[in-house]
């Protein structure tokens, strides 16, 4: 019997090595795997490359990982925010590398990794600073930039419900980067509100089929509220 559930967030991330590329899903607080990020902070891996839409907010979660100088490089679309002070400070001090990627290109590069695409031509960013030094091509009547997939060692995702095969469903706009990141990593770890019996998820409604998920952690309601 296959049961992908793992006892704790700590156990689910115990094997993350130094230098790993880790995708962290979520868009703002929605769909952000808060307890997995906290477990990653506790776990201690260093020199991480992080893929996220942002670069941390306030003092918790990804911001705390950055503040602890555990992130060598970050790929994101929108690092600068009113409360991204830990990133801002480290970036200005030259302590963290930034690869700025337009949000749709970020999503498509992640999707390409999961889908086995070697590279793709996108019209986004053609003629801008973010295309400087990149291969471009006119195809038909539009100009395109060649972009490469972003593969990860781990993806930390948050879903609403899972079953023991790792099938996941999300809630509202908390879906965002979660399904594509789940497909792009060698080891996808999902934190969920609830693990339901096999068959409780409608097969028409499963957004992330279990093939993309290695480990599932149920986060206790008390912990969820504390975060």
């Amino acid at each position: 019997m296959i049961d992908k559930s793992v006892a704790s967030a700590e156990a689910a991330l115990a094997d993350v090595p130094d230098g790993a590329t880790v995708m962290i899903a979520g868009f703002g607080g929605a769909g952000q795997p808060v307890q997995l990020i906290e477990a990653l902070i506790a776990q201690g891996a260093r020199e991480l490359t992080i893929v996220n839409n942002n670069a941390g907010n306030g003092d918790a979660g990804l911001a705390a990982l950055i503040a602890a100088k555990r992130v060598r490089k970050i790929l994101c679309s929108f690092p600068r925010q009113a409360d991204s002070w830990h990133f801002d400070k480290l970036y200005r001090a030259g302590g963290i590398e930034l690869e700025l990627v337009p949000q749709g290109t970020l999503a498509e590069r992640i999707r390409a990794a999961g889908a086995g695409i070697g590279a793709f031509f996108t019209p986004t960013a053609y003629g801008t600073k973010l295309a400087e030094g990149k291969e471009t091509r006119r195809i038909g009547e539009r100009d395109y930039v060649l972009e490469y997939p972003i593969h990860a060692d781990y993806a930390l995702v948050k879903a609403d419900r899972a079953d023991r095969w790792g099938n996941l469903v999300y809630r509202k706009s908390a879906r965002n980067f979660n399904p594509i990141m789940a497909s792009a990593a060698k080891c996808t770890v999902a934190q969920v509100r609830e693990i339901v019996p096999l068959g409780a998820l409608d097969p028409e409604v499963v957004v992330t089929p279990g093939i993309f998920v290695k480990r599932v952690v149920k986060i206790a309601a008390s912990l969820r509220k504390a975060a």
Binding site: G28, A30, S77, L100, T128, K129, K172
Partner: protein, 216 residues
Amino acid sequence: MKKLDRKEMAARVARDIPEGAYVNLGIGLPTLVADYLPKGKDIFLHSENGILGMGPKPPEGEQDPDLVNAGKEPVTLLTGGAFFHHADAFAMIRGRHLDFAVLGAFQVSVAGDLANWHTGAPDAIPAVGGAMDLAVGAKNVLVMMEHLTKSGESKIVERCTYPLTGARCVNRIYTDLAVIDVKPDGLHVVDMVEGLSFDELQRLTGVALKKTAIAA
């Protein structure tokens, strides 16, 4: 001459959005447009984070942390709306399925180049979000901005001095002074605020404007 305030600008943009349109409203000023879309007409708001059929802000106390817009503010979903993931959300943008994107701007050039993501200041931390995708993807890119900078310079320019978001992508500019179409043969003024003459608008703008499109 009375300049439009932000709400009046939003209302002016909203007037041009027809029923049935699929629309993305950028963060900031463009978000206000939602408040002026005609009630009772079906206009479909898209959000980069995976929403189609986005509704207004929820009443205080009914916010759902799992239901936010691209600016990460609480929103609602209209009856008939749908959720999807980020790659699908941007497939809609890049694949030219959106009828309109309404975006803020630092500068727009006579060729329709858009600069709205980076001031070019050497110490600025850059952040682009979905702006470049919207600029190249939407069938019609509408820009909303004040006509002049705080120091009185025109934001409509011969060539953008700020880094580009997209080249030759803007279709129409809405400012607090005028509505201007960007066409291959130049900038056509569509309308102006009350009390503003074409000559005065031309003087303030600095780049050549055409008046043939102004309704009699």
